[in-house]
């Protein structure tokens, strides 16, 4: 299997503290990989190691199937990144900020206009970044990360500190990128809702350890649903459901339907109505992804 990013047993210690422990991250081409974990979980530390900003204490990093230690510059040519709070030169204009990076990257000047267009900052291109809102600075940071038309884009909490409209704006921006260019994206967040709406794959990290790594669909599977029925004479009603071959549980006077396709639920209701029970409530119980995430990251064990 070809991975764009593959870390093996990646660890980072700060003195006695371990910020990242034995992390095996695998990202396939074209994925939007959501790197999820509460604050202090080790997301930024991992990303800093991927970009060669920090040296790993142990373990290896392969990007584009090349060893980061050996081919750092060749790898970084094909990577764009935004780490933590956006970096910028406040005394320069948006255009000049990008120009300072462009000179180093050696891409044509027209690319500056293109990326400004993508993040919709064309109109303020010649204004000093000092006066920009956080959202604009964040967008400038994304523009900077896109300058070299990267094959791998790494964004560390790109919506952190933004207001809801800013968040939606950045989210839409990120979602459209891979479709247009076949880019692979690694995006970190401490909010599941963020990742849920963008990612195709998730890696969940807590206390420096990867505790889950799979497709977003598999994660959703854990959010099992149950349909609850509140009816008259519930124990009787439950038995008659079982008698009609419908799988159900009975708990504290409530019937739980374990099969919850529309057809099955309709059949159960029909049966009960037909046999003369009164139906007071039909409810759906849902374990949200948020619950699962919370459970995973606080209990520190895989589901």
């Amino acid at each position: 299997m070809e991975y764009v990013v593959q870390t093996t047993n990646l660890s980072k210690r700060f003195g006695k503290e371990s910020a990242v422990i034995g992390l095996d991250m695998k990202i396939r081409k074209g994925e939007i990989y959501g790197f999820l974990g509460p604050n202090g979980a080790g997301k930024t530390t991992t990303i800093r190691m991927l970009l060669g900003l920090m040296k790993a204490s142990s373990g290896t990093i392969q990007i584009f199937e090349k060893d980061l230690n050996k081919e750092k510059i060749n790898i970084l040519k094909r990577v764009g990144s935004l780490v933590e709070n956006p970096s910028y030169y406040p005394h320069l204009t948006a255009y000049e900020n990008l120009e300072a990076l462009r000179k180093i990257l050696g891409v044509p000047k027209t690319r500056i206009h293109e990326v400004l267009e993508i993040v919709r900052l064309t109109e303020v291109a010649n204004k000093k970044v000092k006066g920009f809102s956080l959202g604009m600075k964040q967008r400038l940071g994304i523009a900077a990360s896109l300058l070299n038309s990267p094959e791998l884009l790494i964004l560390d909490e790109p919506t952190n500190g933004l207001d809801p409209s800013g968040i939606i704006e950045i989210r839409n921006l990120i979602k459209q990128l891979p479709a247009e260019t076949g880019m692979t994206i690694l995006i970190s967040s401490h909010l599941l809702t963020e990742i849920d709406q963008m990612a195709t794959t998730v890696g969940i990290v807590t206390k420096g350890k990867m505790i889950y790594q799979d497709s977003i669909e598999s994660l959703r599977m854990y959010a099992q649903q149950k349909v609850l029925l509140k009816v008259s004479d519930s124990e009787q009603a439950w038995r008659s459901l079982l008698g009609n071959g419908i799988k159900a549980d009975w708990e504290d006077g409530i019937i739980l339907l374990s099969e919850h396709s529309d057809g099955k639920v309709a059949k159960a209701i029909h049966t009960l109505v037909h046999e003369g029970y009164s139906i007071y409530r039909v409810e759906e119980e849902k374990r949200s992804l948020e619950d699962i995430f919370l459970q995973m990251t606080t209990r520190e064990k895989v589901i």
Binding site: R48, L51, G52, L53, M54, K55, I73, N74, L76, K77, V79, S81, V83, E84, N85, P86, S87, Y88, Y89, P90, H91, L92, E96, E99, A100, L101, K103, I104, L105, G106, G141, A144
Partner: protein, 236 residues
């Protein structure tokens, strides 16, 4: 690679006043002599047969101080450009080596100080001619007084750049900078081995060239140590 970084770094110092400071330093040194000679020109011209030499000595009495102060300010400003929004991480995640990033910073500072030294020579020459110090213009002496202190100050530049680029707390390079200025001011009483004495061109053998050679040698050494330390560290 270094050419690209230099062009980017020169763009980044735009509007930061670094060019202006590079002009202000030598201008200030000459301005002091404008006051000095303005007030007591006749007296000063009577003090010596070698009016040019005497004038250059006076100019040089303030050069080391201006230079050491200038180095402290320029390195702080230079580091602040990357420190302000922690742009080091953005810069170093570009396809560049950390060594070349560091070299570029050093070269920009070196160029600014070179321009200052050049301006010092030009201003000295200009004001000397204005003062009518004589037709025998000592070009060689002029060059020495302009560039010897610069070369002798390279270790201070290398040291300040090192401290400014690796310190989390920018109070540290400012403190060492201020200490340096105080040392440079007290050059008379400092032992010969103190790098802050070197720009004064004084030593017990009375041979300025020793300070220049030491400056280049120790400057290179401190530069290499600083660069290796910068490369070794995790980026802020």
């Amino acid at each position: 690679m270094i050419g690209k970084l230099l062009r980017a770094d020169f763009l980044k110092i735009k509007r930061k006043g670094l060019w202006f400071l590079s002009f202000l330093g030598p201008f200030g040194v000459i301005a002091l002599q404008m006051v000095n000679y303005g007030v007591r020109k006749d007296y000063l011209l009577n003090q010596s047969d070698d009016d040019w030499g005497y004038f250059l000595e006076y100019v040089h009495s303030f050069t080391p101080l201006a230079l050491v102060l200038g180095i402290a300010i320029l390195t702080s400003f230079m580091a602040s450009i990357e420190n302000e929004t922690n742009a080091w991480k953005q810069l170093i995640s570009l396809p560049v080596s950390k060594m070349s990033v560091y070299l570029s910073k050093f070269m920009v500072l070196g160029s600014l100080l070179f321009v200052s030294s050049l301006l010092l020579g030009v201003f000295s020459l200009g004001y000397g001619i204005l003062l009518n110090l004589g037709d025998q213009i000592p070009y060689l002496e002029l060059l020495k007084y302009s560039f010897y202190p610069y070369l002798a100050a390279l270790p201070i530049l290398a040291l300040q750049l090192w401290i400014a680029s690796v310190s989390q707390n920018q109070g540290i390079p400012i403190t060492t900078g201020v200490l340096g200025v105080i040392f440079a001011y007290s050059a008379f009483i400092l032992p010969d081995w103190m790098i802050w004495k070197w720009p004064s061109l004084m030593n017990e053998w009375d041979e300025p060239l020793i300070n220049v050679m030491l400056g280049i040698g120790v400057g290179t050494l401190l530069y290499i140590v600083g660069m290796l330390d910068f490369t070794r560290r995790d980026v802020k």
